[in-house]
Subunit: 239 residues, 2 copies
């Protein structure tokens, strides 16, 4: 497996992603962008990119903050995430920049690109779907589901899969219900929501032990099931 940094730009900001691909595959293959959680592009998103590359895709762990900036505590996360979420067009442009950088690589089949995201990154991929990005699929793992710019009828091209913890205080039942209603109203061609019982925020991240955020906790079973659901969807739409 090969890895390298991949720099790309969005307006004045230099973003530094992490690319992973299996160099023994000779032909162009689907690309998958991996969007990090609120703390910034770090070990967790890179590990997921490696896992995605292990499935035979070219994986780009994107950088949404610029210069791979890290948010080191909850307050910093709230500031930087809040700033981007308050400007959804800017957030969407940053996400699109990653998709463009990925799709432009010679080893990527630009007609078959998907995006996955965790926590904040889950919100990002849903924003990209709402914006009509040319994606085969988006998968949100414990992402926030609310938006300032709901999808309009027929605008979403991607198959949408939401994997959410039934006890996640950042995606409470009312928000899940509103999201499903948004999908209906927008006549999204293909969407599904999986709600995992006894599951909090951040359930895919083994480092989520409740210390940074009391309500973010790893759940090995739900993590495994959500990853399998993602693989199932990719088998359908990226083949």
């Amino acid at each position: 497996m090969q890895t390298r940094d991949l720099e790309y730009r969005c307006d004045e900001v230099t973003l530094r992603g992490h690319l992973v691909w299996d160099e023994t595959i000779a032909t162009p293959r689907p690309g998958v962008a991996v969007f990090h959680e609120g703390t910034g592009l770090g070990d967790f998103a890179m590990e997921r990119a490696r896992m995605v590359a292990g499935l035979g895709y070219v994986a780009l762990a994107a950088d949404m903050y610029g210069d791979r900036r890290q948010a080191r505590n909850l307050q910093e996360v709230a500031t930087v995430v809040g700033g981007l979420r308050a400007e959804p067009e800017k957030l969407r442009a940053r996400g699109r920049a990653a998709l463009g950088a990925l799709a432009g690589l010679p080893q990527v089949d630009a007609s078959r690109v998907a995006a996955i995201g965790f926590c904040f990154g889950g919100s990002v991929v849903l924003e990209l779907a709402r914006a009509g990005a040319d994606l085969k699929a988006v998968v949100s793992f414990h992402g926030g589901l609310a938006t300032r710019i709901p999808a309009g009828p027929g605008e979403v091209k991607a198959s949408v899969l939401v994997c959410t913890g039934a006890d996640d205080p950042l995606a409470p039942p009312d928000q899940v219900a509103a999201f499903e209603e948004e999908m209906r109203t927008a006549q999204v061609r293909d969407w599904q929501v999986i709600s995992y019982g006894n599951t909090l925020h951040g359930f895919t991240n083994p480092a989520a032990d409740g210390s940074m955020m009391r309500t973010a906790l790893y759940n090995e079973q739900s993590d495994r099931r959500a990853w399998a659901a993602m693989k199932g969807l990719f088998d359908e739409v990226l083949a």
Copy 2:
């Protein structure tokens, strides 16, 4: 693959199930009871039993009505389903009788039994879970999720998987939300709900073409996904 009728009793009623198993497997294996939709035990549930047996389990398509009675139109379905749902203890006893008949077979490992159900049958397997039946898992496909006897704390032993159509008028969003709250309150150890967009009632049944019930319609994609989710759960809990 072998098939035969299997008669069993519940109180005064003789129930005639349909058993399917792979006779080339020598050792006792898990058993899966398959509960039919409101029309009664017919081709659809038997075909699903055959598919379950193809996964290596002993499958019993149960008879919930007695003498394999059929409900030939919506009115008959409403009468017989309504009658049983009004008497949940009777419904549970009938379901338990099927589980007992299945678990008592020499080719079945009685410690590893699961139950799946479709439409009305989905409601049946959820009632069995609520009743604390000794099941490894229950899977409801487009079943009604409401109950007269909500599960009490710690009573549910089975892993619970609900596969529901996001546009199913028989399991509307409020009912799904109430079910999830029931699972939380009852501290069910393992539960998950999958909501499939653009999916109506009866989505697993190729014969559901809207003619008997306008809002029951086959959805090949959601059917495939739900079956895969069931297989994933069985791989976890019946292995």
